[in-house]
Every structure is written in structure tokens, then in C-alpha cells.
């Protein structure tokens, strides 16, 4: 099973734009229904069978479309896509394209296509369509989708050999949580690769240092600014399960445990230390990213699901803030 590391994501982001020409509206190809830069919404086999076929997974298509368009998509759209897929599968390609056009979805931009790509990546890594909708903030749509498609029905886990994230009748298992430091570049911080002799690269600093303190005021500030469902989407938001004082404390503690003296070398920046960390889970022995929230938007960058966050700590060992960041944002490649 392929691991999905931060470096993979950075490489993915850089390579993505050149990977394929953009299709700004849905199109049938030999592989199936495609949108954006080669993102496969549904696998369709042209075998003259009835209906859209087993590769037409409505929850996955809905999650893709809501991700791409950043807004709910009506059931009528899915009906037309289903009809178009059935026609295409039956060999009536012309009419199939007409039905796709009748779905009435607008053309997508490059950023829309990148969001679509990330949604696809999350689904392929094992998240269910409802989970993806939730972390994108579409709670109601996630509830409706899970109600319609039976939320209690387990899904194929990533790495099982079958396409992951699908609704299935099989079982699965919870993985062990791992938090790994990532290097966060901050403007104005100069880091030297020359470490003092006593510093062992990769050594955990927390073993000899107390966990930073989070005051009630700071916790309130973090939850009010970065808690799930709070206003101001220019700020990163934690997922619901990470939007509690206990979960935030754990994230801070985990980041601190993963910190090295090298992280603290940046502590002269406005008197603060900035520690970056990403959350993973061991699934079948291989680390998989755990989405802990979405990054903030509003600058020329979209909000995307992320496994990465930072903790800012002042010189008195007090936490100042903690929030999810874009995994490809200001990450220093030398970390790997």
C-alpha cells in the first residue's frame, strides 16, 4: 500500500497543474466519468449492461461534485448523471453527453479542479463520502447522504485491495495514532543547519521539558477561532472531534512530544516557537493521514482538508494558538 506523506502532498500539488489538461465540465472517457484534471468520478464499463453499472457510486460522485463546486448539488443533477452514465454504458454516447449537459452544472475553475482532486485523494485513502463532506463543512449534506446510503454500513478500508471508501458489508479496524513533526517555514526566521553538538537530530525534546500550558482564555480563543462551525473561514477549522478542549490539548501535547530542539531554535521569532505536526494513523502497518481539519481560505489559496497543524508557544511555555494549516503551505522540504 502506498504511503501518503506530506512530501507526497507537496509533490502532488506542484505536479498537479501539469498532470493533465483541465476538463472544466464532466466528460465521458474510456475510463469513465471524468472532471477536472483527470479526476475519475465514476468507473464505467461499456458493456451494454442495464443502468449505470457497479462503478457508479452516487455518494462518491456527490462528494466529488460538492467538493468541486463548494456548494450542495441537487438530487436532480445526480439523476441526470445516472441517466447519462446508463446511456453511455449502453453505447449511446451522443445522448449521454446531452444528459450530462442537462445536469446544468457550471464550468469549474483550476482551484475547483484542485479541490476535486483532493476530495478524490481523500476518498481513495479510505475516508467515506460523508466524512469528506463533514470536513468540508457540509454537515447537512453529509447527514442526508449518510441517511440515504446507510451510515452504519461499513466501507472498504484503504489498502484492502478493493477501492477504498466504498459502502461494503465487510469489517475494518481502528489504527494507532501517530503525530510527526513537520518543519514550518515562517517569514523572518532564519534556521541554521548547523546544530550545537549536544543536539541530536530527531531527538525528542519533550522528554526533558514540561508540556506547554494552555490557559482557559487561550483555549477559548482557539475554539472560538478554529473550532468546527465557527464563522470566519479565513481561519483554519478543526474537525468536530478535534474541536474540544480535550482534543486541542492532545494535539498540543502530541506536537510538543514530537518537537526537537531544532524546532525551538526558531524561538526568537517574535518571542515565539512555532511547531508543526501532522497526524497519521497506522492502518495495516502503514501510516495514513488523519484529517484533523481544513486550512483557512481567503488569500489566493483554497481551504483544503489537512492532516497538518501548528502550535505557537511563547517564551514562558504558554500556548498562544493552535490551528490547522495547508500541508503544502510553508513546509520546509529538508524535514524529510
Amino acid at each position: 500500500m502506498m504511503q501518503f506523506t506530506r512530501e507526497d502532498m507537496a509533490r502532488d500539488f506542484a505536479a498537479w497543474r501539469g498532470c493533465a489538461p483541465i476538463r472544466d465540465s464532466m466528460t465521458f472517457t474510456e475510463g469513465g466519468l471524468v472532471l477536472g484534471r483527470g479526476t475519475l468520478l465514476a468507473t464505467l464499463e461499456e458493456d451494454a449492461g442495464a443502468g449505470p453499472g457497479p462503478g457508479f457510486d452516487e455518494p462518491r460522485i456527490l462528494a466529488h461534485l460538492i467538493g468541486a463546486y463548494g456548494q450542495p448539488v441537487s438530487g436532480d443533477v445526480i439523476k441526470k448523471i445516472r441517466r447519462a452514465s446508463a446511456l453511455w454504458r449502453a453505447g449511446d454516447k451522443g445522448l449521454a453527453q446531452i444528459y450530462l449537459a442537462l445536469a446544468g452544472l457550471p464550468r469549474i475553475s483550476d482551484w475547483d479542479a484542485y479541490r476535486l482532486h483532493l476530495v478524490n485523494k481523500l476518498l481513495r485513502r479510505g475516508l467515506g463520502p460523508g466524512d469528506v463532506l463533514k470536513i468540508m463543512g457540509f454537515q447537512q449534506e453529509a447527514r442526508e447522504l449518510e441517511k440515504k446510503y446507510n451510515q452504519n454500513q461499513p466501507r472498504v478500508p484503504s489498502g484492502s485491495g478493493a477501492e477504498s471508501g466504498r459502502w461494503t458489508s465487510g469489517g475494518g479496524g481502528a489504527g494507532q495514532r501517530i503525530v510527526q513533526r513537520v518543519d514550518v517555514n515562517v517569514v523572518g526566521v532564519t534556521r541554521s543547519d548547523v546544530r550545537p553538538a549536544w543536539i541530536v537530530p530527531g531527538a525528542q525534546f519533550a522528554q526533558a521539558n514540561p508540556t506547554p500550558v494552555i490557559s482557559a482564555k487561550t483555549m477559548e480563543k482557539i475554539l472560538r477561532g478554529h473550532g468546527f462551525g465557527t464563522p470566519d473561514d479565513t481561519k483554519g477549522k478543526f474537525t468536530p472531534d478535534n474541536s474540544t478542549p480535550e482534543a486541542i490539548s492532545r494535539l498540543v501535547e502530541d506536537a510538543w512530544k514530537s518537537a526537537t530542539p531544532d524546532d525551538l531554535g526558531a524561538g526568537d521569532w517574535k518571542g515565539n516557537v512555532v511547531i508543526g505536526a501532522k497526524v497519521m494513523e497506522l492502518v495495516d502497518g502503514a501510516p495514513q493521514p488523519v484529517i484533523i481539519g481544513v486550512s483557512g481560505k481567503e488569500r489566493p489559496a483554497p481551504s483544503i482538508p489537512t492532516d497538518t497543524y501548528i502550535v505557537v508557544i511563547d517564551s514562558n511555555n504558554n500556548v498562544k494558538t493552535c490551528y490547522p494549516i495547508n500541508p503544502v503551505d510553508k513546509i520546509n522540504p529538508r524535514d524529510e
Binding site: P106, S109, V186, V187, G188, A216, K217, T218, M219, E220, K221, L223, R224, G225, G227, G229, T230, P231, D232, T234, K235, G236, T244, P245, K270, G271, N272, V274, G296, E298, R299, P300, I310, V312, D314, K320, T321, Y323, I325, D329, K330
Partner: protein, 282 residues
């Protein structure tokens, strides 16, 4: 203290992304539908364009009669002009008589991807030129060492009065004289959402609604009143504000609070908006 609502305005434009309400100029609206962006002044179209190749907009403030400033790609828009400001991607803008104050949030402050984002607040001339960073004047002050973002602010004359996290003080910066003063609050100012006032009094509203699920003892709203002349601050009952909201037809639980360009607080429930007015007296 008396509280009332004024300039009650219906929000009828479809696809309303953001708006500003001014006692003299009326309603300025930013409409986004698909890739199409339009600005309406009192429901009359000012300008429209498509997203591609034009300023990215999600907020709007009145700049002058017939002119608005949109952001985060800060741009003054009139019927004849698009004027880009020398501010990166501010999350809020406050306008005084002679200056524009462009504020950045904590994520920008800490990562500073674009120029000036670590300013906390960039001070610009009304013609859009960059003048200086507010931190230039606050860096020597130990009370300002923990600044990471402006929570709420308002302007009067050429002053910016603001509350910044993590400081339990009201700061009043005079952009003309380049001096400042501060008023200590004997209570935490976390959760301040919006403020208004003048050179004598400042009124700040705490919005605890997003904290109350974790801190159930907190009331949904609280009020702080600063006396800028005496240099004092007191917590005050929110009841008069709540009564004014209810009298104007707002459900206090469902309102949003936002600053307008001229230092007032706008209350809205998504269908209508009004200005919140405070004054001394019983």
C-alpha cells in the same frame, strides 16, 4: 446607557456575499453568483465583473459617497475606477478621516506569506499608499508583546481604537500624531466580537455563543463599556442591547455582528440589518 436600532434595512439582493450599512450613504452590497461579481449601492448596480482577472472580493465597506472598498484583495471601486491598495490580503478594514487601517488575522500574522501581513495592522493613506506598520509603534511596549490579531476596532477622527488578542486593554492610536494610549480592563477581553464608540466612550460586545458549548456558564453576549476620558472600563449588562434587538424584530440568538466602515456595529439576521446605537443617559 440607552440602546436603539437605526437605519433598519431589508437585505433583498440575491447572492448577497457581504454588505455595509452607513447612516449617510445607505446600503452597499457585494453580490456573488457563480463567477459573476456585482456591487450595488442602495440596490442600484455600481459595477459588475467576472472573478477571473479581477479583484477577489468577499467583503465590502463604504469608502466615500459612490465609492466602496472591497477586500481581501483590497481595492477601491467606483463607477470609473479600480484602485488597488498597498495592503496584502487584509481580513478587515477600518477607515478614519485620513487613513485606512488594514488588519490581518493571526494566521497571517504568524506566517506572513505576503508583504506587510506581520504588521498586525497596516496603516495606509486614503489614496491607498502604504505608510507604516502599527507594530512599529507598539513593539517597544511590553503590554503589546502578545499581540497576534485585532479582535475588534472602530475609528473616530483619525484614531483607531482597538482590542487585540492577547491583551486586556483598549488601545487608542492617533494616526495623525503617531501616539497612543491604553486603558486597562479589569476583566478578560477575549471573545470581543464588535465595538463602536467615539472619543469619549467605547462599547464592546462579547459574543460567547461559539464558546458556550464548552463553557456553559458563559452568557451568549456580554457588554463592556470604556470611558476614554476617565480611563476606566466596566462590564455592563447586555439586557438593554437585547431589548433593543427584540424591539427591532431580531432574534438575539440568531444575529451576526460586524463593523461598518465608520465605526458602527451592524446587526443582521441575514434578512435585515440595522445599526446599533449607544448613547449615555437613562
Amino acid at each position: 446607557m440607552q440602546v436603539s436600532m437605526s437605519h433598519l434595512t431589508e437585505l433583498t439582493i440575491p447572492g448577497l456575499e457581504a454588505f455595509d450599512l452607513d447612516p449617510d450613504f445607505g446600503l452597499a452590497s457585494l453580490q456573488i453568483e457563480g463567477d459573476d461579481v456585482a456591487i450595488y449601492l442602495n440596490n442600484s448596480l455600481l459595477r459588475s465583473w467576472t472573478h477571473e482577472g479581477h479583484p477577489q472580493a468577499s467583503q465590502i465597506r463604504w469608502f466615500a459617497r459612490g465609492e466602496v472598498v472591497i477586500f481581501p484583495k483590497a481595492t477601491i471601486v467606483s463607477t470609473t475606477n479600480f484602485l488597488s491598495l498597498s495592503a496584502a490580503w487584509p481580513t478587515d478594514l477600518f477607515l478614519s478621516r485620513n487613513h485606512i487601517f488594514a488588519a490581518y488575522n493571526e494566521e497571517q500574522f504568524f506566517t506572513g506569506r505576503a508583504e506587510h501581513e506581520s504588521d498586525l495592522v497596516s496603516v495606509l493613506s486614503r489614496t491607498g499608499g502604504y505608510e507604516f506598520s502599527l507594530m512599529q509603534y507598539f513593539n517597544p511596549d511590553r503590554d503589546a508583546h502578545n499581540f497576534m490579531e485585532v479582535e475588534a476596532a472602530y475609528c473616530f477622527d483619525d484614531h483607531l481604537a482597538f482590542i487585540a488578542y492577547d491583551s486586556d486593554k483598549l488601545w487608542i492610536f492617533d494616526a495623525g500624531a503617531l501616539t497612543y494610549r491604553k486603558i486597562q480592563a479589569p476583566f478578560s477581553l477575549a471573545s470581543i466580537q464588535a465595538m463602536t464608540g467615539d472619543e469619549k466612550k467605547a462599547y464592546a460586545i462579547f459574543d460567547n455563543r461559539y464558546s458556550s458549548q464548552h463553557y456553559p456558564d458563559l452568557p451568549p453576549f456580554e457588554l463592556a463599556v470604556f470611558d476614554l476620558v476617565a480611563g476606566t472600563a466596566v462590564r455592563s449588562s447586555f439586557a438593554p442591547v437585547e431589548a433593543a434587538l427584540i424591539a427591532a424584530g431580531f432574534d438575539p440568538a440568531g444575529i451576526t455582528l460586524q463593523p461598518n466602515a465608520s465605526g458602527r456595529i451592524i446587526v443582521s439576521d441575514g434578512k435585515k440589518a440595522a445599526l446599533l446605537e449607544f448613547c449615555d443617559g437613562d
